[in-house]
């Protein structure tokens, strides 16, 4: 399998490439008023309005610095009703991919009930990276809010 690697604070994280639709450069985002603090905004992706979540803000509480390597990963998100949506994820240093096999993952041994999206650890050479489970990113209330706000975005 292929992981798209990015960085939050000084830690490396990975997303399953199968869920990634496309990686696009950071563009000016429309403010999404009333959404939770970690919502970076809305943007027009090929004619449809897509909400963008700031992963750095979600995980560390600090907004993601706007660097050249700061990019938006567009992922497929299936909501509780089973409908598929496109969701943008903002992160730093979205520069490379890592090929690995599902057996390479190890459990970190620490349960994190407040962050259910934190997945298993992958030891990639000297470095370690942690897998993010897209499906667990949004609590139901936020799902409703975001995808209701976007309408039939998919």
């Amino acid at each position: 399998m292929l992981l798209v690697v990015f960085q939050i604070a000084h830690d490396r994280f990975g997303l399953d490439a199968a869920q990634v639709v496309e990686v696009v450069p950071l563009v000016a985002l429309k403010q999404a008023h009333g959404a939770p603090g970690y919502t970076a905004g809305l943007f027009n992706y090929r004619g449809s309005v897509v909400p963008v979540i700031d992963l750095t803000a979600l995980i560390t509480g600090t907004p993601c610095p706007r660097l050249l390597s700061t990019r938006i990963m567009l992922v497929t998100y299936t909501d509780a009703a089973g409908a598929q949506h496109v969701l943008g994820l903002l992160a730093e240093r979205v520069l490379e991919t890592v090929t690995c096999s599902p057996q390479d993952f190890q459990s970190p041994g620490i349960a994190s009930p407040e962050a259910p999206y934190m997945g298993d650890m992958l030891v990639d050479g000297d470095q370690m990276l942690r897998r993010i489970t897209v499906q667990e990113l949004l609590p139901p209330s936020v799902q409703e809010l975001l995808f209701a706000a976007c309408g039939e975005a998919s």
Partner: protein, 730 residues
């Protein structure tokens, strides 16, 4: 294929129907033959037994009749004896009488003179006429109806002459007196009756009287001396038992068989005594031959005479009765009835028994025919049932084969439609098969549509990748141009720095000259002034050259920023290409490697541009420092030039100041050298960048190739899948 399956079912059914029938027919046929032979044998033996039994019965009947007659005759004899006794006794007279004696066998006539025979005291007389009364014999006739004769011994041999009788010669209608029975027959054997009587015994038995046989009782007549002088004979004509004869006529054997009686010995030998309905009675058939020319009568007679009492023999021969056109095979059983010298036979035609045999075998034949007809009916019904059942079994299979052929041709839609239109009525395995094929078709439909959708997705992805590659190619070629431009610019900077350094060394030599002149004398102030002016011009030139360098460095910085943006874009493209390659799965493996390579090249580019940026910064700093120094130097020169007239006195100071200048020039020279080296390094870096870009171009070509290959693979997959039509346009 389908034909064969159907025919197999029919063949199986007909074999199942045919086999028992054939076996039954074979068994029936064998049994038929066996039973026929047994029946024939049994019937033949039964018939022989039957014939034998009839012959024996008739013989027994004759025996009974014989006994009855015999006892009757005995009684008659007693009566005769009593009558004779009442009338005295029979004795010879002294007188004689001459008889014309006739031998009853040979009819020879011989005159003989014999003493008169008296009954009591009276001569019996010669009474021929039936109207005249003859003593004793006529009384017996009246009382018992028997024949009664008194014989007189003719000679020593014992020839016996009839002297009184109630027997009438049918030819003359007179009493048959004057005939005699010879003691020895013409053909040899002695007469049994006479022999017995001459021995002094009473004879009970059968004897020939004139031409007919009689059952008799003969008692010797003795004289006073006890010699036999005659015979008192009482008898009943054997054939007179008419009822026996009728009974024999009526005895029916089989369909049209009958009982016959032949004579056994002597003159009666081979003569018909009793024939069929009495038609041929008395006929001599001794020399008669059967259809094959055998003297069968002789055979019968010889065989019969050799038989023990009560024993029965059988014979087969062909026989023709009067009124019949052809001789028929006959079977006869016969027995010898010795008391009457009769050969009693019961014969019947084999036709009768053949008729029975024919009937039996006809029954057997009809049984065979019925069995065969039943078998045929069974076979026909089995064939019909098999054809019907076979059709029922084969039709769903044929339908499914047609559907499978549709699927093979790729018409899944047509197959689905066929399923919708088809109704599977049977409840056997064919229904399961039907269901399974239906499910399979459904799955295939789903699979093909999934593959078609996936194909379209992959096509879209590969098209996107190809577009990205083209875009990237454009970017990289633009980058190549920019790199070439940077190389040119930095070469110019290097050249400018070189010329600057030369100018500086010229300034230095000029300064040294100035110092020398200043030291030489103040007279050369004017020359110094012009030299100063020259120096001022040179510094202006240096300043302008430095400005050019700054401008060039600024342009390089702009280009580097462009390259940086491009490498960012390349990285993004390679990232997206990797993701798309992963999604394309197996087909994407080729270009996922290429995408990774491009990513690495983008990283290298980023590093190279970073280095260039650093160098440009250093160079700009160096140029800025140089310009500041030059500005300072120029102002000092100007100050020096302006104050040259005033500073004649201060020339020493000026000279000292000028002498201080060379180290500064050295400093500037160093800066220039450094600048030159920096520009050269930039040039080298640009060459490296150019090589990296060429590599990128090659990788891109490979990438495009991989994308084309992917596209081809997807196209071929789609054309394969397109064989399966999911909508009914075909």
């Amino acid at each position: 294929m389908k034909q064969r399956l159907k025919y197999k079912i029919i063949g199986l059914a007909s074999l199942a129907a045919l086999l028992p029938v054939v076996i039954i027919l074979v068994i029936t046929s064998i049994q038929n033959r066996h039973v026929s032979s047994i029946i024939t044998e049994e019937m033949s033996s039964q018939m022989q037994d039957h014939l034998g039994q009839i012959a024996r019965d008739v013989a027994n009947l004759c025996g009974t009749a014989n006994d009855l007659i015999q006892s009757y005759v005995s009684h008659g004899h007693n009566v005769a004896e009593k009558i004779v006794h009442e009338k005295g006794s029979i004795c010879l007279d002294k007188e004689t009488v001459t008889w014309t004696a006739i031998n009853q066998d040979t009819k020879q006539v011989a005159p003989v003179t014999l003493p008169k025979l008296n009954l009591g005291k009276t001569w019996i007389g010669v009474i021929k006429s039936t109207s005249a009364d003859s003593p004793v014999v006529d009384e017996i006739k009246t009382l018992l109806g028997c024949t009664c004769t008194i014989f007189q011994r003719m000679n020593q041999q014992g020839d016996m002459l009839r002297v009184a009788t109630n027997l009438v010669n049918p030819a003359t209608q007179e009493r048959a007196i004057g005939t005699f029975i010879p003691a020895v027959s013409a053909d040899g054997p002695p007469n049994a009756m006479i022999a017995t009587v001459l021995r002094g015994e009473t004879y009970h038995g059968r004897s020939r009287v004139i031409n007919t046989w009689h059952l008799t009782c003969d008692e010797p007549i003795r004289d006073a001396a006890g010699n036999v002088i005659g015979i008192l004979h009482v008898g009943i004509r054997q054939e007179a038992v008419e009822s026996l004869r009728k009974a024999i006529y009526k005895t029916k054997v089989g369909k049209d068989g009958y009982v016959w009686v032949l004579g056994g010995k002597g003159s009666e030998r081979g003569r018909y005594i009793i024939s069929k309905n009495g038609e041929r009675d008395g006929e001599d058939i001794w020399t008669a031959t059967d259809g094959d020319g055998n003297l069968f009568v002789q055979t019968i007679v010889n065989k019969a005479l050799a038989l023990q009492e009560g024993e029965v023999a059988t014979i087969r021969y062909s026989w023709k009765n009067p009124g019949e056109t052809s001789s028929r095979n006959k079977i006869a059983a016969f027995i010898y009835f010795a008391p009457w010298d009769w050969i009693i036979g019961a014969g019947m035609y084999e036709d009768d028994y053949l008729e029975m045999r024919r009937r039996t075998s006809g029954e057997m034949q009809s049984l065979f025919v019925w069995t065969m007809a039943g078998g045929l009916a069974l076979l026909v019904s089995a064939l019909l049932a098999a054809a019907l059942l076979g059709n029922r079994i084969v039709r769903p299979v044929e339908n499914i084969i047609a559907i499978a052929q549709e699927i093979a041709r790729g018409n899944i839609h047509a197959a689905n439609r066929a399923f919708d239109s088809m109704q599977c009525v049977s409840r056997d395995e064919t229904r399961d098969l039907h269901e399974a094929v239906k499910e399979m078709t459904g799955s295939l439909h789903a699979l093909v549509s999934q593959v078609q959708r996936s194909g379209i997705q992959v096509t879209a992805a590969s098209t996107q990748i190809a577009a990205s590659a083209r875009q990237l190619e454009g970017t990289v070629s633009r980058q190549t141009e920019s790199t070439a431009e940077v190389a040119t610019e930095s070469q110019q900077i290097s050249d400018t720095s070189q010329s600057l350094a030369q100018t500086m060394s010229r300034v230095r030599s000029a300064t040294v000259e100035t110092a020398g002149r200043a030291a030489g004398g103040r007279d050369d102030i004017v020359a110094l002034e012009s030299t100063m002016q020259q120096l001022l011009n040179a510094t202006g030139l240096i300043s302008s050259k430095l400005a050019i360098i700054r401008e060039k460095a600024g342009r390089i910085d702009g280009i580097v920023t462009t390259i940086n943006k491009m490498s960012e874009q390349t990285n993004l493209l390679s990232l997206n290409a990797s993701i798309e390659a992963e999604k394309a799965g197996e087909y994407g493996q080729g270009f996922s490697v290429v995408a990774r390579e491009i990513g690495k090249l983008a990283d290298q580019t980023a590093v190279a541009t970073y280095n260039i940026e650093q160098m440009i910064r250093e160079m700009q700093a160096a140029v800025t420092a140089g310009v500041m120094e030059m500005d300072k130097f120029t102002s000092e020169i100007r100050l020096g030039a302006a104050g040259i007239e005033k500073i004649s006195a201060e020339l020493e100071t000026v000279i000292a100041q000028i002498e201080e200048l060379p180290p500064r020039f050295e400093e500037i020279n160093d800066g220039m050298q450094h600048q030159s080296r920096g520009a050269h390094q930039i040039s080298q870096a640009m060459l490296q960048l150019g090589a990296a870009t060429r590599q990128t171009m090659e990788s891109l070509r490979e990438f495009k190739g991989a994308a084309d290959q992917l596209n081809d693979a997807v196209q071929s997959m789609q054309s394969e899948v397109a064989r399966f039509s999911l909508r009914g346009q075909e």
